[in-house]
């Protein structure tokens, strides 16, 4: 059921965990599609695979975002900080992919003050990529922090497919390219609409 008009949803995006489902001919949802839908690029910060500079180490990227956002390291968990502290200075290519993504997303949620926009989220799930989680204690700890963050925080998730854990979101907006097509507050109705 459409519960909102186009002009009303921007306000709600700030205060709820939302999915924006985009029916698009493009192969993926990029920055341009996000900006066209939000009508502005200043409404929030997007989490992209380049949120962390791929040629720098995790520790350097973490320090960079802490300084640029003006946040103290104290806002992070001690467990998280001790993991970061012991990491070698290696670029993305030589790092564990899960480790890289988890630290990046945790940093993103703490460092970004405005609306948090994601078109990519390293949700720990049962896919092949996350199978190694049980063998590495540090990555497992980080994955738990990521799970906690995804449950506790408000953010907007852009997708062109039914996202993993979509049922945990509070509202679902549908767009055809950049045109608003409907808004749902019930996952089942949303699923019926998009499948």
């Amino acid at each position: 059921m459409n519960i909102l008009q186009e002009k009303e949803y921007f306000g709600l995006l700030q205060n709820s965990k939302s999915v924006i489902y985009v029916e698009t001919k493009n192969s993926s949802i990029d920055q341009f599609i996000v900006n066209r839908i939000l009508k502005s690029n200043k409404i929030g910060e997007i989490f992209s695979p380049f949120f962390f500079h791929p040629s720098l180490s995790i520790k350097d990227n973490f320090n960079f975002h802490c300084i640029s956002s003006g946040i103290s390291e104290e806002v992070f968990d001690n467990e998280f900080l001790s993991i970061i502290k012991n990491l070698p200075r290696l670029p993305k290519q030589k790092c564990d992919q899960n480790l890289w993504d988890f630290v990046a997303i945790i940093t993103f949620f703490k460092a970004i003050k405005g609306l948090k926009i994601l078109n990519y989220f390293p949700f720990p799930d049962n896919s092949t990529r996350f199978k190694s989680l049980s063998s590495n204690i540090e990555i497992k700890k980080l994955s738990n922090i990521v799970k906690q963050i995804s449950e506790e925080n408000k953010y907007v998730f852009f997708t062109d497919s039914l996202p993993v854990k979509a049922q945990y979101f509070e509202q679902y907006l549908v767009f055809k390219e950049q045109e608003f097509n409907g808004c749902y507050n019930d996952f089942n109705e949303f699923r019926t609409r998009v499948t």
Binding site: Q31, K42, D60, N61, G70, P88, R89
Partner: protein, 263 residues
Amino acid sequence: MHTLTKTSNRILSLILLNFSSMSSNGNMAISYRGIYINFGIIWNTFSPLIIVYAISYIFSIGLRGARGLFDIEYFVFIFLFWINLSTLVQTLLAREINNNFFKFKSYGNILFISIAHIFTSLLQALARFLFTILLIYFFGIEIKLMTLAIGFFLICAFAVLFSYLLKFLFVDSQVFINFTNFFMQALFFASNIIFPITIMPEPLKSYLLFNPIVHINEFLRESYSGIYGGFVDLNYVGLFLLFLFVTCIFVTLMRLELIYKMK
């Protein structure tokens, strides 16, 4: 006040990013029994000194038994200042702004990135300068600290304003970057870095004196040699820097769209 803090935080973080990028080159890393040491920043900062010291030494001792052309105590600094200038100009121009990392960030604009890069290069230039002074002092050679400090300050001021101006005028144009690299090499020979202005032929001499770097180099050379040719005019250098400064402000205002450019 809040905006100022935010801006300074962003510039500070970009400086950190510049230094981190230097150590990201895995070729300068040593990994031994779990200990990982990266010499990237040290190598990037001090590697230009190898060529500076080598050329200065060759020119000071001379070849095939001939007497050296210059005294090493001032030539090394004239050459070092030139290397600092060309490094700053070339690296600032080569710094690409619209890459994947910056385009998603609201502060990935030309002003912040240029300022951060200038500060990074200046810190490196200062480290090279101080290291060379210590080295000269270690060998027991006379140091005219005030003269060198003035030379360093003036060349750095010129390098900052000149590179900032070029960056704002031509942004990431590859053609212009190549042209500038060629121009900088030509300028090396068309200035008084190797040969003093006093031995230049007359028509060339009067043209070269339009270049403020010639005055600064000659100031250093005269202070050390005690032979005054009457060509040095630091007032001209000051006025030239003032002109560059005003032009930089003007160009910044003309190119505000680059600063406020949408992500």
